[in-house]
């Protein structure tokens, strides 16, 4: 699922400077699950903005809303159609897709991102999410024992590991992170499929997805 993280308040305030009426919009799906842009976070950010503006003496009126899924046009229109008329600018707490969906629909009003969309990942512990997939469009998990080197190896090597691995099989870039290739080695070893790692792999086709990507499924 898409993981995102809220921008520092300072950065958000700079974006909003000059605008008096703001609509803060949350999203109920991915960013709720990763505690970044759900209804609760909308409340917290709105409180912070109101507190900050009252301390700095400039008045700021805030409307709050939360869309079921900010990447669905119908849901955005249904939830925001009326509220958008009453504000000068929209602060979206959805992922990058949400921000742009709103921007496409309400083109006359500026839309600002309150979050930084970071990666596709999974929960590792309470409140901790870890990147697992980079959406490269050419999945090779079948020969890496289900561990993606493109994203989880800092250099994205296909014939790893690099010479810089740290003691204990940690990554050169971050001593806290495991070297993906050591993990791949251990798992393939456990499955008795180490021949897969011995094999030479051609340079990757980095244009498997012609960016920006577009998929047209056969209509059902």
């Amino acid at each position: 699922m898409i993981i995102a993280e809220r921008k520092p308040l300072e950065e958000i305030k700079n974006m909003l400077s000059g605008y008096k009426e703001i609509l803060v919009v949350g999203c109920r799906t991915c960013v709720t699950i990763c505690w970044a842009g759900g209804e609760k976070e909308v409340g917290i950010l709105s409180s912070q903005l109101k507190l900050a503006s009252s301390r700095e003496g400039n008045e700021l009126s805030i409307l709050e809303a939360t869309v079921e899924r900010q990447c669905e046009k119908e849901m955005v229109i249904e939830e925001l159609r009326d509220k958008v008329q009453e504000v000068e600018a929209i602060l979206s707490m959805g992922c990058g897709v949400g921000v742009q969906t709103i921007a496409e629909i309400f083109e006359e009003k500026p839309v600002f991102p309150a979050l930084n969309t970071t990666f596709i990942g999974m929960p590792e512990a309470e409140g901790v999410w870890v990147e697992k997939c980079g959406a490269c469009g050419d999945c090779m998990l079948y020969w890496t024992g289900g561990i993606c080197p493109v994203v989880r190896c800092a250099k994205g090597l296909l014939n790893g590991p690099c010479g810089g691995t740290r003691r204990g099989g940690k990554c050169e870039v971050d001593p806290e992170k495991d070297c993906a290739w050591v993990l791949i080695y251990r798992r393939l070893e456990k499955q008795g499929r180490l021949d897969l790692m011995e094999r030479y792999y051609e340079p990757k086709n980095y244009r498997a997805v012609k960016r920006p990507g577009r998929i047209e499924a056969a209509t059902a």
């Binding site: 300072e10 609760k40 917290i44 409180s47 912070q48 109101k50 507190l51 900050a52 301390r55």
Partner: protein, 132 residues
């Protein structure tokens, strides 16, 4: 909540801090009267938003008062409350309210004196701020 009479909002867990406040009353231990106690079933019920809303409505300080470490009826209520207070403090710093105007306090049900001491400490901190 208007600005001048600087209120302190105290979220008190009904198992411990709320009883401590009653104990202080029964012992006639007087403390500043700008405290407003809000009874909650557990300190873990207090949400970051409640604290921010209190400040938004003009509170000068907020106390989240729960059971002592390891004595929480709901095991993790007080530890979670402490985490949330720490997080809220960082949110307030972002806004420019620092000087830890939100505090987590661990009390036993009969710690009347400590309750009063905590309230006085927060009141003095706010008083100091107001005068500057």
């Amino acid at each position: 909540m208007n600005r001048d009479d600087s209120k302190i909002v105290a979220f008190c867990c009904e198992h411990s801090a709320y009883q401590a406040a009653n104990k202080a009353g029964r012992m006639r231990l007087h403390y500043p009267d700008n405290v407003r106690i809000i009874r909650v079933p557990c300190a873990g019920r207090v949400d970051v938003q409640h604290i921010l809303k209190a400040f938004e409505k003009g509170a000068a300080g907020v106390l989240v008062m729960g059971c002592q470490e390891g004595a929480c009826q709901h095991l993790t209520g007080n530890t979670r409350a402490r985490e949330r207070v720490k997080y809220t403090d960082s949110l307030l710093k972002e806004v420019g309210i620092d000087g830890s105007r939100v505090r987590m306090v661990n009390l036993g049900p009969d710690m009347g004196q400590q309750f009063v001491a905590e309230v006085k400490e927060m009141a003095e901190k706010i008083e100091g701020e107001m005068r500057r």
